[in-house]
Symmetry: C2
Subunit: 600 residues, 2 copies
């Protein structure tokens, strides 16, 4: 565990025991893979993360990218690390062999990226955005676009961005104004300004491919009038050579609290005669195209939160074991030696909470990644449809739960360090600053709550929601066969029933047409729902750990015992808060809705 990015036992447990990633090797797509090839990819990612990414994580925070004479200037370590990453082939981890990819299962591919995030989220950002943009072209783009743009991106020669936000619109994408004018040759000219464009300019790659949301001249207002365009920094000739500089100008850099290594830019499209762009997919279908990739992007955000929480936890654990301070309660003799911090109950409680959040969050993100594979590659239509529905339902939870609770884990890691944790001599304060972005980007908690409660829970007549409940019930039944888990099962059961009652009450309100009232506490619903889902994943971890304790597993008995105990902790200390929230929700409380401006 020397690298302090992940506990290797936990990584192996989660992938190969809890989620049994080997079961997807039965899908045709993964027929060439084995436990060994998956492990080799993970080992490679961990090595690059520890050796090339982690060492300059603090450096890119202290010396963030600068705007100098129209260029973005940054530390040379960033390019070196990304060059090494490119050479591993991991930037195409999940892509087809014929495109130069490794055709790895989604859970393993996501995990490889996750390890880089835990090591240095700032530098990883450039690669992560490129992978996401390439995926988007591979799904939505034409064959020519795939060859000309996506393949060099997967090979790490071109990097990519996502250009959604505009200053006047923020989260309200329907209000974006960037316009695209059709040209005689079938291309478009784009005019408009975008903000918060991560990796929007740099000299890390030969080219930058911007995926831009804009409006055609005949576009209807709102989200139904948005189209997706591909806008390269340098035009690319038919034979793949770089042509002239496109009309995309760097208007400035945005300076952030954390995540400083990933430069955030303002870009102006069409300051001169318009930025040359190419339509991706159908006209006016841009938002749907973008959202097609959102499930995976949001798993990426969730996993990024988890990994920042995870590295913070490992740093805190290490510190608590090494740092001697104070004496046990009841030890009155000041001449005795000081004990390691981990001997204090309150320090253990803070470590337990961190472990519960980060390992619970990891189980959640990997659950989502497994569903990505089942949705695409499962044997039957029915299985694929069910996986797709569950993934849709869980996506807002996967995006938001870790970004709240693994941020809290980072705060607890600071607290374990005491005064040292607040200084920039120790890394935990940076994790906390870096992680504070995750509740905001790719849809705030508020947006995710409306998505979950306003759409996902009642989607397909509640079919996906009921399927999730059915799976939870099955785990409860299994857990009740073990004396050590009946308490946890009972506590989860109570929380599930409370949330089910709340869901029914809210659905009733929606059916009566009181949408605003029904959704007034959607963020609280999201939070409580997430706790129930993670409680379920902890119960499943404990179940698997009991098998391990019975000899059916590869980890140490102490590791398995720890899992059972954290399940107990989570259902005792964390789940009960769901009950009071569920009662508020069931009553369809309108306290916030009724407060008027002048009363603040």
């Amino acid at each position: 565990m020397q690298q302090k990015i992940i506990n290797p036992q936990d990584l192996a447990f989660q992938l190969f025991e809890l989620h049994d990633v080997e079961r997807v090797l039965g899908f045709d797509r993964y027929a060439d893979h084995s436990r060994e090839t998956l492990q080799a990819a993970l080992d490679l990612a961990l090595k690059v993360a520890a050796e090339e990414f982690a060492p300059h994580a603090r450096l890119v925070d202290e010396e963030e990218p600068r705007f100098e004479q129209g260029r973005v200037v940054m530390r040379p370590e960033v390019k070196r690390a990304l060059d090494v990453l490119r050479d591993t082939g991991l930037m195409a981890a999940s892509q087809d062999y014929e495109r130069g990819g490794m055709q790895l299962p989604a859970a393993v591919a996501q995990m490889c990226v996750g390890l880089l995030k835990g090591a240095n989220v700032g530098t990883q950002g450039y690669a992560g955005l490129t992978i996401a943009a390439a995926n988007l072209i591979m799904v939505q783009g034409s064959e020519a676009q795939q060859q000309r743009y996506a393949e060099p991106m997967m090979a790490g020669r071109f990097f990519g961005t996502m250009c959604l936000t505009e200053p006047q619109a923020g989260s309200s994408l329907g209000d974006l104004r960037t316009r695209a004018e059709p040209q005689a040759d079938g291309s478009y000219r784009l005019f408009g300004s975008k903000i918060y464009i991560s990796g929007g300019d740099h000299e890390l790659s030969d080219n930058i491919i911007h995926m831009v949301l804009a409006r055609l001249p005949d576009a209807p207002p709102g989200v139904k009038g948005i189209s997706l365009f591909l806008v390269p920094k340098f035009l690319v000739t038919e034979d793949g050579r770089l042509g002239e500089r496109n009309d995309v100008a760097l208007a400035g850099l945005i300076h952030k609290m954390g995540y400083r290594g990933t430069t955030s830019t303002m870009l102006n499209f069409g300051e001169r005669d318009g930025a040359v762009g190419y339509l991706v997919g159908e006209p006016h279908q841009g938002l749907a195209a973008m959202f097609h990739m959102m499930n995976e992007a949001r798993i990426g955000v969730g996993l990024g939160s988890v990994m920042l929480g995870y590295t913070g936890y490992l740093h805190a654990l290490d510190y608590a074991r090494e740092r001697r301070q104070g004496r046990p309660v009841g030890e009155k003799d000041p001449a005795t030696a000081q004990v390691p911090l981990i001997r204090h109950a309150d320090i253990r409680r803070m470590l337990l909470a961190q472990k519960a959040y980060v390992e619970g969050g990891l189980a959640l993100c990997l659950e989502g990644a497994m569903l990505v594979d089942e949705k695409k590659h499962a044997a039957t239509d029915a299985e694929r449809r069910q996986a797709a529905g569950l993934l849709d339902l869980l996506t807002p939870v996967i995006k938001s739960w870790p970004s709240r609770y693994c941020l809290e884990a980072n705060s607890l890691a600071i607290q374990v360090h005491g005064g040292y944790g607040y200084t920039r001599e120790y890394p935990v304060e940076q994790f906390y600053r870096d992680n504070r972005l995750n509740p905001i980007h790719e849809g705030t908690h508020g947006i995710q709550g409306l998505d979950l409660l306003g759409r996902k829970v009642s989607m397909a007549g509640g079919e996906h929601y009921h399927e999730l409940m059915r799976r939870m019930e099955a785990s409860l039944a299994e857990a009740r066969q073990h004396a050590r888990l009946t308490g946890s099962a009972d506590r989860l059961d109570v929380a599930m029933r409370a949330m089910a009652a709340a869901t029914d009450a809210i659905n009733g309100e929606k059916q009566r047409g009181n949408t605003e009232k029904a959704l007034a506490n959607a963020t609280l619903y999201l939070d409580a729902f997430g706790h129930v889902v993670v409680g379920w994943l902890w119960l499943r971890q404990a179940l698997r750990a009991l098998s391990g304790l019975a000899g059916k597993g590869e980890q140490t008995p102490e590791f398995y015992e720890g899992k059972v105990r954290v399940c107990d902790y989570f259902t005792r200390y964390e789940l009960p808060n769901v009950i009071s929230t569920a009662e508020l929700l069931q009553a369809v409380d309108t306290t916030a809705l009724d407060m008027v401006d002048e009363q603040f």
Copy 2:
């Protein structure tokens, strides 16, 4: 409210209606004061805060003090602001007239400092530490020490520090090693290293007076062997002139996540022939001497948290009123204009939570400040004793509750701002970074929890705890006479009973000698106890607001209505979580205690 430091209606309400600070004007000490003189001091503090402190708050974060050739170099605005503050006389706000003080009641004096904290906590730090150190000398020092050191401090010519922490001891003060060797002339020579010394070196004042904890040669081990010394940077002659430089060396600066304007230093005492120091108070009574001032210092920390939360809330409120984004749930026409953020229920919920935390926290800190005055100046021994006991009991809550929940308010202020809130173009991210110190310094949450549950609750046979319960019961009875408050009263009642049962169970465990088990969840106890206390203060605010609505008050009806609604919010959304925590506590849960190192 243009200054965004405090809502003037709330300030007036809290001081003059809720806490009725005018009642202390009946004490002899304050006979010269009137509503007008108190208001004049507050107005002066607010003017200095807004005009001299706030404008450079971001600047001292961006350009924090630097270590150059053995000196601390910082922005000139800091000295200018502190010079203006010195000239107002506010640095001696609570001191005697004869010492050059203003003899203001504690609640008003604290509030004056609080306004400076809300404006610029970094620059205020130098003044705050000086006030605290001067107070310490005024209570514990000899007449000569008071004249030679404290008076120039109160006049702002000398600044002060508190030197407690050492690298090997951290929170475990009993393990500090700095030693003091007696000299023939009655002075001492000090040898040792201190860390995290805020304001430990600078050129803002003619001299710096360090209040240092150290051990005499014959000291017993542990906290019973600590003495308090006064160590000036420059020796001071009998006639008050500055003499030679003392043997106190700046070993380096510590760089922090926030609170960057207040330089944090490492100081070496006695690198040459020993730093000249003077004993303050009795030998081996240093910790008691220091803790004599702790109640007020901890109110200061709590109030600092509140004011950082408060300014963040006002910035978020302003932004939510001005920024237009999105449309109400149910508005399907994208051609309609975007609405202000405050129209969205989830934004209102986040503003409500912030208002509940910061105005609840302010009520809590002012409750403590009122007790400071009653403890010192109330008419009878019994009243003074009761006030002192309640203050002791509430101090850990006053220190810790705001430092958790007003930090959460700062996080919510970022969330209301969305992506902008994460950038350094907006001030809310700095408030969040600044406020993250408060759960750590002056005793972490863990330390405060042990203080509350291990000592304060059972102090004097539980007398102070029962007095607090009695006062809460009285408020419940009063609230139940108002139809609008019966729901809140009932919810508070349930939470109180749950915590009373938990307290009884824990006390039983202590009496059976199981101290470690009894205190294992002391931090959770602290948190839940704090929520009950703040719930009580919200009920009292609502009661007072109903009087205001009935015509007995100076604020607007909307303001009073808002108070009643926030009380409702707090008891509906916040208090119920106390119940589940109380159940854990009542069961004397040992999940964290039982987890062993290898299971992490």
